[in-house]
């Protein structure tokens, strides 16, 4: 996978076409589907902004907050092909004033935290036009 164009890994049921994120690997949650034929798939890395908000106060553990805490925006992005909406922080410290419902968003990576052995990454959403306002 191209690190400049990261994608979330989910699963899809081959029988009914339903997607799952986070990945569901043991059963298909579609009640009309008796199969459990789940394969790992890369999800679309772009979508449309459904709604957005902000976290102006530090969330409690198990969130690993930067010190000092910096408020961040949160986006709910609809992936068209998958028919799924995924939440994530908004990249680059952009605030809600840079966002507008319906705008195109893309997935980027951000370091969550690191320990002695690993750097843990997570996903962020970023306005594709760099943000309005």
């Amino acid at each position: 996978m191209d690190p400049r164009e990261p994608r979330l890994l989910g699963t899809q049921c081959r029988a009914c076409g339903t997607y799952f994120f986070p990945a569901e690997r043991t059963f298909c949650r579609n009640p009309a589907c008796d199969e459990a034929d789940l394969r790992e798939v890369e999800l679309s890395r772009t979508g449309k902004l459904w709604s957005y908000t902000s976290a102006n106060y530090k969330p409690p553990a198990p969130f690993v907050a930067k010190e000092p805490f910096e408020p961040f925006a949160i986006a709910a992005v609809e992936l068209e092909e998958e028919g799924i909406t995924i939440l994530g922080q908004v990249a680059d410290g952009l605030g809600v004033e840079a966002l507008e419902a319906g705008m195109p968003m893309e997935l980027v990576l951000r370091e969550l935290y690191q320990d002695d052995e690993h750097i843990y990454m997570t996903w962020n959403w970023k306005p594709m036009d760099g943000g309005g306002a």
Binding site: Q12, C13, C16, G17, T18, Y19, F20, F21, P22, R29, N30, P31, A32, C33, W50, S51, Y52, T53, S54, A55, N56, Y57, P59, P60, A61, P62, F63, V64, A65, F72, A73, I74, A76, E81, E82, G83, I84, T85, I86, L87, G88, Q89, V96, A101, L112, T122
Partner: protein, 395 residues
Amino acid sequence: MTKEVAVLGAGMHPWGKWGQSFIGYGVKAAQDALKDAGLRWQDIQLVAGGDTIRNGYPGYVAGATFAQALGWSGAKVSSSYGACATGAQAISVARAHILAGLCDVALVIGADAAPKGFFAPTGGHRPEDPDWLRFHVQGITNPTYFGLYARRRMDVYGATPRDFAAVKVKNAKHGVHNPNARYKKEVQIEDVLGSAVVADPLHLLDICATSDGAAALVLSSMDFARRHTTDPVKIAAVSTVTPVYPNTIIEMPNLSTDSSAGVGLPEIGFKESIAHGAYEEAGLGPEDMSLAEVYDLSTALELDWYEQIGLCAPGDAEKLLRDGDTTIGGRVPVNPSGGLASFGEAVPAQAIAQVCELTWQLRGQAEGRQVEGAKAGVTVNQGLFGHGSSVICTL
């Protein structure tokens, strides 16, 4: 066969921050409900407890905890958990026992002692739990979801932060005369808009606090009730529905929705289906309701509920509020108790407290906040992970 059960007694411990154990709150509420019913604790055949997950105590066995505190009597026990819908789960268990003829009279109790600030999941490293995962990888708290829904109302329906603030103003005014409310002070629009933004566009005063509190109900069969009272308030329906697949609206505590790629959308969404299930069971509709107690975790969520319980069409909630329809004295007062805005949330007690309020309103005992001539009322609430909760009470 009738599906009705009687509400013989209602009792509450006032909401607040009292610094005591949830058990004591629950015992006080239970004793008040028993007194209201004119029964002794030893008369109770089933105790149905709503569990608390906090307090560093084996709160998951709340039913037995309350039974022990009230004095072991040999009564049957049940303990339920459904997050914010916990109380409805406990009511549902008690009602089912009564309707099945397994007991005649039951005591339902929910109590909590809540921590200050954001609710957080239990500790450890538990990535398989969506509630843990959303905090860990994205810092998403409960107000995040409230903010997303509020912004959506602004984008889709043209709602404004002033509309949201007006819900708080209304509920604060309702709560002033409620002896069990935590906050008994009127609030102005400017107070709300001047408070700190927590989850844009919502301010601190748009979002409910976390509180200590307890509520209890004595429920019985209609036969048992007739031997003890003349004209009891009745529970006509309890809806505890789950969503129908796929639920494509983002819900607490998830990071994502179901997918609509393989299956078409259900006829009505989850939140709409909750009260709908209760109306169907009672054979009543929103037009029959004299009042409603809805779960105003945020001001904007109360407006969503107006539409989701059928008080108005989608997009008309702001108008309903502005026209005074949902204020005491209006067409269908919403949250005459003062709602979560005046109480703060005591999770396992809250859905029971909603039914206590309906009981007092239908009896004409809601002093200072009475909905005149109230004949039927509906509660609605929703618990984390997909627990619907709606109760209809009638005279």
